[in-house]
Symmetry: D2
Amino acid sequence: MTSKFRVSKRAEFAETDMAGIVHFSNYFRYMEVVEHAFFRSLGLSVYMPFNEAMLSWPRVSCSFEYKRPIRFEDEVDLVLTITKVGAKSLTYTVDILLEEEAIAHGTSKMVCCLLEQGKMKSIAIPPLLLEKFAPYLPR
Amino acid sequence: MTSKFRVSKRAEFAETDMAGIVHFSNYFRYMEVVEHAFFRSLGLSVYMPFNEAMLSWPRVSCSFEYKRPIRFEDEVDLVLTITKVGAKSLTYTVDILLEEEAIAHGTSKMVCCLLEQGKMKSIAIPPLLLEKFAPYLPR
Amino acid sequence: MTSKFRVSKRAEFAETDMAGIVHFSNYFRYMEVVEHAFFRSLGLSVYMPFNEAMLSWPRVSCSFEYKRPIRFEDEVDLVLTITKVGAKSLTYTVDILLEEEAIAHGTSKMVCCLLEQGKMKSIAIPPLLLEKFAPYLPR
Amino acid sequence: MTSKFRVSKRAEFAETDMAGIVHFSNYFRYMEVVEHAFFRSLGLSVYMPFNEAMLSWPRVSCSFEYKRPIRFEDEVDLVLTITKVGAKSLTYTVDILLEEEAIAHGTSKMVCCLLEQGKMKSIAIPPLLLEKFAPYLPR
């Protein structure tokens, strides 16, 4: 079975807006929180030295569907599932759970890139990384 | 012909990240900037008193596709186009232009709601608002 | 001896700027992170129901001195020390530690207020709260 | 007489918090908005190429005093006054005005630095810049 990666996150005051709930744009920061924790859990970073350049993962697209709001001090779970791996790209979903109820659903597609002297160039995902992602890749 | 609504926005330093470009989550704040300017241009607000409650527009879903990055001090144009109006909902796109080239494309769907004593309730878009939206509604 | 309150915080990618370090404004969000965790540790919240209104703590002033930068994925410690308690106000410092070295020093003064129907009114800090703060108050 | 530099800024929804007002940390982003607009008005940037490196202005310290809140869609004026110029540093104040009433007062001290290969080194403010700052320097 394909593994999912999960972390929890406390909703901060600064993330709320005058409607009394976490601002919708902050869900995309939550998305990154679980994505980056996922990379760290594999001994990687989304922004790491590689072949004398930086390996980075710029986003091609992302989305969120909002079902129920998140409030100040709610502790939510962020569940990342890789749904597709291309030669150069990775697509995943993030489900936000509040007391195990899915209250938001996000998707993100990003491309493996080398950042050299301020220039981005897409590359095939290095085998070293694919190996680490293996337990999480869709069958 | 259906009207589009356009404002310009300067990319701020605090909106950039260590990759040297505007962080992808901030595009959703740009989305709101043009949405709220659009409401203001009609003498409305996305958060306004209405029948002794507050009329608000919580988001159901939103997305962005990223084509080229935005850099510090770039002045981009944000172009809002209403693509669908439902009984209770409004769907629009936002194109981000840099020197007239479309560098990102966003979508957003929101629902007209009354916020009363901390509770949200969806309602039909009031005729007064529909009238003001009219020049921007799809034919 | 007076107690200090400490939590750790991971620097997130979205908190960095194009200079490659955590943006200076985000230190004030870190300040809130430890402040709010402190309140929670006492069974309180900085924004809690009280006598049929909301008890809140608007800020009167705050500051930070920056010694060394914080970088993406650094795990810093945030140490809160109450330095002064007035009839209606609380003043504290926050030291940010990286591997036990103090790399930033902040101060914050806030006032105890009741928020009723959108209006703020300062009040004496309720005895119930003072009691909980006791181990942390300066001698 | 010493010149002051002024820009206006609209309070955005995403800048508010659940207390219904602009979050205190965002005042520091407003501080940057006027600082960066000031540099631009002189044909400069706070982050600009200089002698084959980047010239940047990391912050040493900053503060804000809050008098009255800023609300969604308020249009405030941000007034920058240079209060001190050292060999390597610049200190200024920012007053936030709402309908010409000062509602917040900030200070900031920053140091002129060269950023080369990820390393910051403080330098004397280049004469070219001092010349441009001249009308704004304290007498």
